[in-house]
């Protein structure tokens, strides 16, 4: 709470599910950090109510490490991400940023990592304010990496994202797209790191 305030967030603490529900009906928040063990109305019920109202505020679930089932149900109910207790403040902020980025991108807002900026309204990336020429598939790959910035993105996740094209993409094809994107990013501080066996990670120097 204090940590988040210090890093410039405005926070409000809602101590039980009932009052949280009431407040969420009245006000708009950029993100919700939801502890599943809330008194009165439990976290999952609250989350279901929020989503049933069509409220798409990003929700980050805070859970103990031993509650896999609850976590999975949380994600199924419409949470955007989760974080285990105890956590590092830096990790919480990174997750919040990632969640917020995805939501912002969904609603058409700009998202930036280092010198790389995504303008979803134009379906275009900018590198150091210069438009980046990308094929539609390269665009999709870079979009996945940018929206999951700070996390490793597996080839399977990229394949999922590209499955909109109605054809199976081989891993070799994904490697080819990543190779092409790298060439286009070369010279900037944004790089795509290969994490062998896991996937790719978008990095920028100011991380």
């Amino acid at each position: 709470m204090h940590g988040l305030r210090r890093s410039g967030h405005v926070t409000e603490r809602l101590a039980d599910g009932e009052s949280a529900d009431a407040t969420l009906r009245r006000e708009h928040f950029d993100a919700i950090i939801l502890d599943l063990g809330l008194p009165r109305v439990d976290g999952l019920t609250l989350l279901r109510r929020v989503r049933e109202r069509g409220d798409n505020t990003p929700v980050l679930i805070l859970s103990a490490r031993d509650t896999l089932d609850v976590r999975i149900r949380g994600l199924d109910t419409g949470a955007d991400d989760y974080i285990y207790k105890p956590f590092e403040m830096a990790e919480l902020e990174a997750r919040l940023r990632a969640v917020a980025r995805r939501v912002i991108a969904r609603s058409g807002g700009d998202v930036a990592v280092g010198p790389l900026r995504l303008k979803p309204s134009e379906r275009r990336f900018y590198l150091d304010d210069a438009p980046l020429e990308l094929s539609p598939r390269e665009y999709a790959v870079l979009e996945v990496l940018l929206l999951r910035h700070g996390q490793v993105v597996s080839k399977a996740q990229i394949q999922n994202r590209l499955s909109d094209w109605n054809e199976e993409l081989t891993e070799a094809a994904i490697e080819l797209y990543v190779h092409r994107i790298r060439r286009k990013l070369s010279g900037s501080s944004a790089t795509i790191r290969t994490v062998r066996g896991f996937g790719y990670l978008l990095q920028s120097d100011d991380d």
Binding site: L68, P86, S154, V195, F198, L201
Partner: protein
């Protein structure tokens, strides 16, 4: 009756039911024997009597004649309770001598030597047993029927006497058996009551094994099993006591540092100089947090043992991928490259997904924690010869003589402080045991660092 009836009632029931059945059978037999013997004795006597009476019959001038002196008749009739009745009748002369009218011989009379036996009823309604002997005309001058009869009173008395003589001791025997068993069971169970008292008297602080003295041979296996259990419990209690003491000690270290740094920070008047203390304070708080987290995982790993009901089929390669991916940013922050190597086929094992994830997390966490930075950590998942997941680093390694020690709680491979809790490998070891798998440490091919290998039994239906 209860599902588990009392031992006493069960023994008595088991003993009494067959005894009573035996008693019934022997009663029927005794009655039959009594009837058989008494009738054969009395029939024999009756036949002798009819033969004796026949001796008095001789051929006379007009057919047969019977000479029955008064003295003989008295001897003959003699018995008062069961008077002997007789009747000698010639075919022509009619009744020669008689003291009663006896029923005529029926068609189904029982043949015996030269004569017959039959049962009949007198005019006054008394039931009689009759022996009849026919005498030929050559023998007696004319055909003669000699009949002797007696009422059944004496026979019935004899049957009764034999019957009682056989059955009465049996009844006594059954009653005696009943009380003997009752007493025996109560006495036999006395040592168990004493054992119970001795067990009740024990406090949980120090569990004493039960001495063999006074324990019946049959109960020894039970007390020996109990002693084994008590021994294991004692060992467990000792481990837990030591563990709690160790835990308190381990927690006190960061807490002392926290207190010290707070005091030093408070003593500083300038914020900049207090900052250094606050940084150290954060480090100590991190350590305490980490320690409690690890303690919780250890408790979970321990309680996870013996819960194969929660096991499910898990792809070890997928697990390594999911767990490893989450650690990549933290590894990169220390300039360590984390990589995963496996064939594309799934490696199926049977296990608890949470516990296995915990084990893999701890192995990777350890590798990163004790790594000085700038290096490699590689995860390998193999299906043969058994499903294994290994975590290999190029860090400082662990000296061979310490490798068996580091699986103990609060044991670290070296004494330098890397912020490790010394619980990671203990947790992995508990989880491996819960899955009937194993964890071991071995040299790497490069000779630098260490490789930790988690081996698990394969899922059967893979």
């Amino acid at each position: 009756m209860n599902a588990v009836p009392s031992l006493r009632r069960r023994l008595l029931l088991r003993l009494l039911v067959p005894l009573l059945a035996l008693f019934g059978i022997s009663g029927v037999c005794a009655y039959w024997l009594a009837v058989h013997y008494s009738s054969s004795i009395y029939d024999h006597w009756l036949y002798d009597s009819v033969n004796s009476l026949a001796l008095l019959v001789s051929p006379g001038p007009r057919g047969a004649q019977a000479d029955l002196p008064v003295a003989v008749e008295k001897v003959f009739v003699w018995d008062e309770t069961d008077p002997t009745l007789f009747n000698v009748t010639g075919a022509q002369s009619g009744v020669l001598v008689s003291n009663a009218d006896l029923p005529p011989i029926p068609d189904d009379a029982e043949h015996y030597v030269d004569g017959f036996f039959y049962d009949g009823v007198l005019a006054d309604g008394k039931r009689v047993r009759v022996a009849a002997l026919p005498l030929s005309a050559e023998r007696a001058g004319e055909p003669v029927w000699v009949k002797v009869a007696e009422t059944g009173t004496e026979r019935a008395d004899l049957v009764e006497h034999i019957f009682l003589a056989v059955l009465a001791p049996q009844l006594l025997l059954i009653a005696a058996a009943f009380f003997a068993v009752r007493r025996g069971v109560i006495d036999g169970l006395l040592p168990l009551r004493l054992l119970t008292r001795r067990l009740r008297a024990q406090g949980p602080q120090a569990l004493q094994p039960l001495a063999d003295a006074g324990v019946p041979e049959e109960v020894r296996p039970l007390t020996q099993a109990l002693n084994g259990l008590l021994g294991r419990l004692n060992a467990l209690f000792d481990t837990h006591r030591k563990f709690i003491a160790d835990t308190a000690h381990q927690l006190r270290t960061p807490l002392t540092a926290i207190k010290l740094n707070i005091e030093e920070a408070l003593a500083e008047t300038e914020l900049d100089r207090a900052h250094a203390h606050l940084l150290r304070l954060r480090g100590s708080a991190d350590r305490a947090t980490r320690l409690t987290t690890q303690l919780l995982s250890l408790a979970r790993a321990e309680s996870g043992a013996g819960l194969p009901g929660r096991f499910q089929k898990i792809d070890l390669a997928r697990l390594a991928h999911d767990s490893g991916a989450a650690w990549v940013p933290r590894a990169l922050a220390k300039q360590i490259e984390l990589s995963l190597h496996h064939d594309n086929d799934p490696v199926w094992v049977l296990g608890d997904p949470l516990l296995l994830r915990e084990a893999v997390d701890n192995l990777i966490d350890n590798a990163i924690q004790y790594h000085p930075g700038h290096g490699q950590i590689r995860l390998d998942v193999r299906a043969t010869p058994e499903p294994t997941l290994s975590v290999e680093d190029d860090g400082p390694g662990i000296a061979p003589e310490l490798r068996s020690v580091v699986f103990g709680r609060f044991q670290r491979g070296d004494q330098t402080d890397h912020g490790g809790t010394g619980l990671g490998l203990a947790i992995v070891s508990e989880i491996a045991a819960a899955h009937r798998g194993r964890i071991w440490l071995e040299d790497t091919s490069s000779g630098r660092g260490i490789r930790a290998v988690l081996g698990l039994p394969p899922s059967r239906d893979s």
